[in-house]
């Protein structure tokens, strides 16, 4: 991937997080501790600030650098979780990945996030978006279809009962609210999918 392309992906990701920061915070206020939007915005702005340096690296190294920066700047449990997603992607992605290489690396990255959060699909977390995205990737879906699958998966967390994270303290009362991490994951998937599609 050319440096300019990676830089554009970073900008797209940071833009969508910034544009939806208040919405993410509102979602998190409903069933979490209310800092998700602010935390994610701080992290992705920190990544944006180093976009040139990161983009100059080979793709796997660039992704690891993004992940490390998120770990150090996002805070909360989201920092390690989103950071692990990018770090693990970088670890397993070939320098010039095709669809199969991307799918395999994405699958490994999901496992890493699940291990970090001691969580699994169906517990009202970001994993509930990552898994359908993985399946859409594996089925050869288009970028647009993958983004739609992510949005639908985020919506599908609304009726779920939270079993991990702060929201799990609420038990039944977590039902009826979208998971903030699922929403931010879907936003990132759409931003990246549309930026790649626009090539």
């Amino acid at each position: 991937m050319a440096a300019a392309d990676f830089s554009r992906l970073i900008a797209a990701a940071a833009d969508t997080i910034a544009a939806h920061a208040e919405e993410l915070t509102a979602l998190d206020q409903a069933i979490g501790d209310g800092d998700h939007g602010l935390n994610m915005k701080r992290g992705f702005e920190a990544v944006r600030a180093e976009a040139d340096a990161f983009s100059a690296k080979p793709l796997p190294e660039a992704l690891k650098a993004v992940g490390t920066k998120l770990v150090m700047t996002v805070g909360g449990a989201s920092g390690p979780l989103f950071g692990t997603l990018f770090m693990a992607l970088g670890k397993d992605l070939p320098a010039a990945p095709d669809r199969d290489g991307l799918t395999a690396a994405f699958g490994k990255a999901i496992e890493a996030v699940a291990a970090r959060g001691k969580s699994q699909v169906g517990q009202k977390t970001m994993l509930d978006v990552l898994q359908p995205v993985y399946e859409a990737l594996a089925q050869g879906k288009t970028a647009g279809e993958i983004a739609d699958a992510a949005d639908k998966a985020a919506e599908a967390t609304v009726p779920m009962k939270a079993l991990r994270g702060r929201a799990s303290f609420l038990g039944e009362r977590s039902i009826g609210h979208m998971d903030a991490g699922a929403r931010s994951t879907a936003l990132l998937v759409r931003a990246v999918a549309e930026a790649i599609e626009g090539n």
Binding site: D33, M72, G75, A77, P80, T84, R116, R166
Partner: protein, 129 residues
């Protein structure tokens, strides 16, 4: 320093510092001890960077036991251990124990010269499961 180090990680700097005060008063100064709390931006939360700093401060060749409060503190502590990397990461354990009782009991065990395994086992005994 050959005693196992103790690191206290709370979402609140006040809780972390207060817990460290209790350890110092009840156990004394021979145990390497460090604490951190807060998200690094003035709010409640935990910071991987701060946890890594606390581990450095309390580092002992005998190892380090970390006591945490809520979920994010545990996730961030595990991330910090991973980022510190091998070989030292093998000598750092995030304990499954209540933060205040766990810190005092772990430090007491450490002050007697116990191994990391013994220190961690003492803390874990406090946790129902």
């Amino acid at each position: 320093m050959s005693n196992v180090g103790i690191v206290i990680v709370s979402h609140s700097p006040l809780v972390a510092e207060g817990t460290a005060d209790m350890v110092r008063q009840m156990v004394g100064d021979e145990v390497p001890l460090a604490w951190c709390g807060g998200n690094g931006h003035g709010g409640l939360g935990t910071s991987v960077e701060a946890i890594m700093g606390a581990i450095e401060k309390a580092w002992s060749e005998a190892g380090v036991a970390i006591l945490v409060d809520l979920g994010g503190a545990e996730t961030n502590s595990e991330m910090a251990v991973e980022m510190i990397g091998e070989p030292r990461s093998h000598k750092i354990v995030v304990c499954n124990a209540p933060i205040v009782e766990g810190a005092v009991m772990a430090a007491t065990e450490s002050s007697g010269g116990a191994s990391l395994k013994e220190v961690v086992a003492t803390a874990h005994e406090l946790s129902p499961s």
